[in-house]
Symmetry: D2
C-alpha cells in the first residue's frame, strides 16, 4: 500500500491537472494498492489537515483542464517557519499531519517559493518529490517548466491582436508580459509576436536607446512600434540602486506597473501616443497547450515511477530533451535567468530586435 | 466607368478588410470598368488628398486579415467643421478632392463619429454609402455591426482564462471589457464567459448590491466570483450627476479605469483580494471570426450592388437577418443602447447573473 | 415541487451542456423545490428508465464544455413506435416511466428526428418543451439552432488551414463540410473561409460549370481553387432521379463520400491534382463558441421560465433576434433549407463565388 | 555584395515564411549590400530560372503567415538526376543558373527529400545552407524541425473535438495523424489529446492487442476509446513482409488509408461502431504556433550569420536547446525515427497508453 499526499502551491498555471493525472495514472497502471490524499489550497491544506481522498475518477478528463482541482495559495516561504496567527508552528504541523496520515511521500507541484519549502520538508525528513510548475520558467535545474509554453501562447496572441491595431493606427504599443524577475516569457512571446523592442529584467534598459530604436523604425517608414515589456523590466539607473534604495523608490511609485512608466517616458521624449495593454492573469489560465500537456504528463509519469521505486528527494526536471531527477537541495533558492549574452539574445538582436541596451 | 473613393475611420476593428473586399469583389464581378481610390488614415486621407489607387489584387487574401489596409485615424466629429492648424476648411477640402478626382461616390466604413461626418458629407451633396463598423455594436438602424462578434470572442477568451485562475485561488476577479458608452460587448462576453456579475452603463450599479451578490455566492459555497465590467459602467450616484458635475468629478479620478474603482470598493467592503484584468486593445485586433467575415462580406456585397445601381445616401445595415438599406440621416447622431428591461437582460437575470441593480 | 425530466438526443453538438445549465439555473434561481431527472443516452434512457438525479452542482462549470453530460444516442424516429428486440412498446414504456416518476414535464434537446418523437410524446399527452440543437441549422421555426455557429467556426478553421497549403502548392482542394441534407453550414463556412466554389444540396451542381469556374480562376492567374462541398451536395443528374433510383445508384457508390466523386470528376476533366479533406466529427466537438454559449443559455433560460409558468408543447426558438415559443406541432417533420434564390446566395454569387449551377 | 538564392521545397508547412524572414532580417541588420533571389515552386524555380527579386518589404509581416511566399513543389529526389521531359539535365541546369546569377549561396528549406538534393548540389560545388522544415520531425541531426509543433497543435485540436463526441456517444474513434514514415507527430498529438491507444510505424501493432485494450477500457466502465493512428502505422504481419511483397499487397489495398483498415478490423472483432476522422492537410496549414515562430526565427538568424561569415555546407539544426551547424553530408539520406524503447514511449506506456504491441 502506498499513501501519497499531493498539493499544488503558488500562483496557478496551466497543466497542473495534467501533471497530477500523470502521477496518478502511472501509479495506478502498476498497482491498485494506493491511496491519494489531495491537500487543498497548497501548503495550507497540509498545515491544517484539510484534504480530500482522491480516486482515479477524479483524474479522468482533466488533462486539458486549466487551474488545479486541489486549489492553491501563495504561502510566502519566509513565513512558513513562523507560527501562524494562533501560534501554531506550521512546519511542525505539516510534519505531524504527514506522520498521522502515515504518508509514504508528498508530491508537491510549484515554483521557486514552493521549492524552498519543499526542500525544508525534505530536510525535516519527509519524503518529497516535486514537479516544476511556473509560467516564469525560472526554476534552476530544469530546461523547462510546465505552464511556460501555454503562457507564451497567450501572451503571443495578445501581441498578435495588438499588431493589427498598431499597424492600422500607426501607434506605439506596449504589451506587458508576466514572468516575475526573469525575461523568459517576454523574450519568447516577444520574438513570436514580432515585437520590435523587448525589455527584460536581465538586460536593464536605457530609455534613450529605446527611443532611438523607435525613431529609427520611423525613419525606415514603419508606422508603428511594438514593445514587449516584462513586468520585471528595470532601467539602467534603477538597476544600480541597492535593494533598500530601490524599495524606498518604489514606495512612491506612481505607475500601476513598469510598462506605464516606459510609456510615459516614450510619450514625453517622442510626443507619440503610446498605448499599454496588460493581459495579466489571463497568461496563467485556460487549457494547457499541447506541448505542456505532453511535457507535464511525462514529468508526472516519471514521478509515479519514482514513487513505485521509493526514490525521493528530487525534483523531476528536463535536461537535453530527457526527463531527469534533480536533487532538491540543488534546486531550492536558485533562480534560472537569461544570460545577457545567451545565444537566443544574440539571435534576437541579429533579427533587428532592440533590448534597449 | 465608376470612380469609387473608400476610407476607414475611427477605432480599428476586425473585418474592415473583409468588408472592403466584399465591396470591390461584388463590383468587379460585374464590371472591370472601375477605379478604386483608397484614402489613407480615415478622413485625413480625403482632406489632404492622400490616397492609393487600388486593384483587385490588393483585396486578394485579406478576408481573414485584421486591421485595415487603408489605415485609420480617430477624427473627432466636432472638429471636422473647424479649420485645421493651417486654416484649411476640412469639409470644403474633402468636397474639393471628391470633385477633383471626379468620384462617383464614397464608401465609408466606421462607427458613430464616422457616421456623423458621413451624413454631413451627404448633406453637402456627396454620394455616400456607409458600412457599420464597431466592436461596440452601438450603431442605430442595424441589429449588428461587424467587429462586434470578434470582440465578444476575444473578451470571452479572457474571461475563460481568468476562470481557471479564479477557481484555483478562490478570488474575486474583474475583467474590464470595452464597449464605449454601451454594454453590448460586456453583456455578451459576460454571459458567454459565465460571469457572475455584469456591470453595464445602461444599468447603473449599486456597490452594495454588488457586494451582496458576492457574499451570497460565498454563502453558497462558491470559492470565487467573476465580474465583467464595461469600461463605461457607472454607479447609481454618478449616474445622477449632471454632465458637468460628472466631468468635474472625473478630473481628479484616481483610478486608471472604472474597474479599479469597483475593485477598490469591493476590497474595502469585503476584505477579499480583488484582481483586475484589462484585455484592452486586444479586443479590436486579430483575424475576424467567421461570423464577422460572412457578415462583413454580405454588407460589402450589398454596397457594391448599390454602387452599380447608383443608389446612395444609405448605411448598409442588418434587420431581422436580412441586409437592408438605412437612410443615413436616420442613423447619424443616434446611439443604440441596451434597454434595461430588454429580454436578454431578463434572461440573464433569470440565469442568476447580478447587474448590481 | 417540480419534477423535470431532461434528455439529449441525436448527434451530439456544442452547447448542449450550456443549454441544460440555462434551464436548471433559471429554475433554481426562482425555486429550490425542484427535482431533475437526467435520462441517459437520449430516448433510450427514458425508455429503459435509466436516469441520474441531478443537482445544481452537476451544472456548475459546464457552460464551456462540449458534448453532453447526459450522453446521447441516435434513435431513428421510424423505429420509435415499433417494439424493441424484446417486444417492448417503446412509446408506451416512455409514457409509463414519465408517469411512474410523476414528472411535470420533459425537456428534450435535439434536432429534426428528435423533434418528431418529442411531438409524438406531446400528442400522447406528455408535457414537453424542446430546445433546437443541431449543427445543421435545419430546424423549421427558428432562425438559428445552437451548435451551428460553433461548427461554422471549426469548418472555417479547416478551410483557413487548407488555404495556406493550397496557395503554396497551387492545387485544387476540397473541404467536405457537414450539414446533412442542407447547405447552411457549408455556405457559411465557405463564405467565411473564402472558398471559391460552394456546392450545397439546395443547388444541384453541374460538374462542367464547376470545371469552368476552376479554369476561369486559372486564366485569371490564380494558382489554386478551394471548394467547400456539403456532405449532401448532389449533381443535377442525380437530383433528377426518383428516391428509389437514387437509392439504387448509391448501393454501388464507389466513393467514401460525395467530395471524392467531385474530386475524381475534376481531376478527370482538368488533369489537375485535387486533394480532399474531411474534418468530419470534429465539427460537432470542442467547447461551444461564445455565440452559442449566449444563445443556448438564453434558450435554456426561456425554457426554465416556461416550466415555472407551466406552459408546455413548444420548442424554444429564435425569431428576429428574440427568443420565442413555437408550437411543437408546427416544427415536427419540417425541414428548413436554403432557398436557391435567397439573398445570401445572391450576395455570395455577387462576391464571385460559384455554386456550380 | 552578397547574392543569395532561396527556395522552399517539398510539402509545405508552418513557419517557412518565419524562417526566411529570419534569414533576411539577420543579414539586412548587418548590411544593405545584398540581393535576394527567390526561386519559385521549389527546385523547379532553380531549374527553370524562375525567380523574383525580393526586398526587405517582402519579408515584413510574414512572421505569422502560413505557407510560403515562394511556393513549393514536391520534386522526388530520384528524378532530379534524370533529364526532364525535354531532355534537360536538371542538376546541370541548376548549376548553370546558380553561376549565371553569380550567387554566393543557396538557402534551401525542406525535409528529407529536399536535403538529399541539397547535398547533391553541395557535392557539385555549390554553397548551400539548409533549414530543417517538416511537420514529420524526421530529419536526422536536429532535435526538432519547424512545422512540427504547429502540426501537433492542430492534430491535438482534432482529438480534443473528437473527445467530446466520443464521450457523448460512447463510441470508438480513430483520428489519423500525418507524419509520413515516423510516429513523432502521432505520439505527441496522441499524448496531448489523451488518446487511449497510439499506433505508430516504429512499433508495429497486433490488432488483437488493440482490441484487448479497447475491451479492458470497456470493462473499467469507460464508454469510449480514442485511437491516434499514424498514417504510416503498420501491422506486425505487414512489417514482416519484404518491401516487394508489401508493395504488391498495397496494390489491391481496399481502404482509403490505414485507419480505415484498423477501424474495419476493430468493428469486425468487437461489433462496436468505429468512426474515422482524417484532419489531413489541415495539419500543414494555418499560422505557425509561437514555438515554431521563435524556433524558425532563431534558425534563420543563424543561417544569416553563416552567410555573413561565408560558412556553407551545413544544415542549421537544434541540439540540446542550442542552435547548431550540422554537416549536410551527415544529414542527407538518414531518417530520425522513434526508438521503440525510447523514454517517451516508456513514459506513455506507464500512463496507460497502449501501443498495440
Amino acid at each position: 500500500m502506498k499513501r501519497i499526499g499531493m498539493l499544488t502551491s503558488g500562483g496557478d498555471c496551466q497543466a497542473l491537472n495534467a501533471a497530477m493525472r500523470g502521477v496518478v495514472k502511472s501509479i495506478t497502471t502498476c498497482t491498485k494498492d494506493v491511496e491519494i490524499y489531495g491537500f487543498l489550497d497548497g501548503y495550507r491544506g497540509l498545515i491544517y489537515s484539510n484534504f480530500r481522498m482522491l480516486t482515479s475518477a477524479d483524474f479522468s478528463g482533466i488533462l486539458t483542464e486549466g487551474g488545479t482541482i486541489l486549489g492553491t495559495s501563495r504561502t510566502p516561504f519566509k513565513t512558513i517557519q513562523d507560527p501562524d496567527e494562533n501560534g501554531l508552528n506550521k512546519v511542525e504541523a505539516m510534519k505531524q499531519n504527514y506522520y498521522k496520515l502515515q504518508l509514504d511521500c508528498l508530491v508537491i507541484l510549484g515554483g521557486n517559493g514552493t521549492h524552498k519549502t519543499a526542500n525544508l520538508l525534505r530536510e525535516e525528513g519527509l519524503n518529497v518529490i516535486t514537479l516544476p510548475k511556473t509560467i516564469d520558467n525560472d526554476l534552476w535545474g530544469t530546461d523547462m517548466t510546465f505552464g511556460f509554453q501555454s503562457a507564451v501562447d497567450i501572451a503571443t496572441q495578445a501581441i498578435d491582436c495588438i499588431h493589427t491595431t498598431a499597424s492600422s493606427h500607426g501607434r506605439v504599443f506596449i504589451v506587458e508580459v508576466m514572468g516575475h524577475k526573469v525575461g523568459w516569457l517576454t523574450l519568447n512571446a516577444g520574438m513570436a509576436g514580432g515585437a520590435d523592442i523587448i525589455l527584460i529584467p536581465e538586460i536593464p534598459y536605457d530609455i534613450d536607446k529605446v527611443v532611438e530604436a523607435i525613431k529609427k523604425r520611423h525613419e525606415n517608414g514603419k508606422r508603428f512600434t511594438i514593445l514587449a515589456v516584462a513586468e520585471g523590466a528595470i532601467s539602467k539607473e534603477d538597476a544600480k540602486l541597492s535593494k533598500k534604495e530601490y524599495k524606498e523608490k518604489m514606495k512612491n511609485y506612481k505607475y500601476p506597473s513598469v510598462s506605464y512608466e516606459v510609456a510615459a517616458k516614450i510619450q514625453e521624449k517622442t510626443g507619440q501616443e503610446v498605448r499599454v495593454t496588460v493581459p495579466g492573469h489571463t497568461q496563467r489560465g485556460g487549457s494547457p497547450c499541447p506541448y505542456d500537456r505532453v511535457f507535464a504528463s511525462r514529468l508526472g509519469s516519471e514521478a509515479g515511477k519514482m514513487i513505485l521505486e521509493g526514490e525521493y528527494g528530487f525534483m523531476v526536471g528536463y535536461k537535453n530533451r530527457e526527463i531527469v531527477r534533480v536533487p532538491l537541495e540543488d534546486v531550492a533558492g536558485k533562480l534560472k535567468a537569461i544570460a545577457p549574452d545567451a545565444s537566443i539574445v544574440k539571435e534576437a538582436k541579429l533579427l533587428g530586435i532592440s533590448f534597449g541596451d
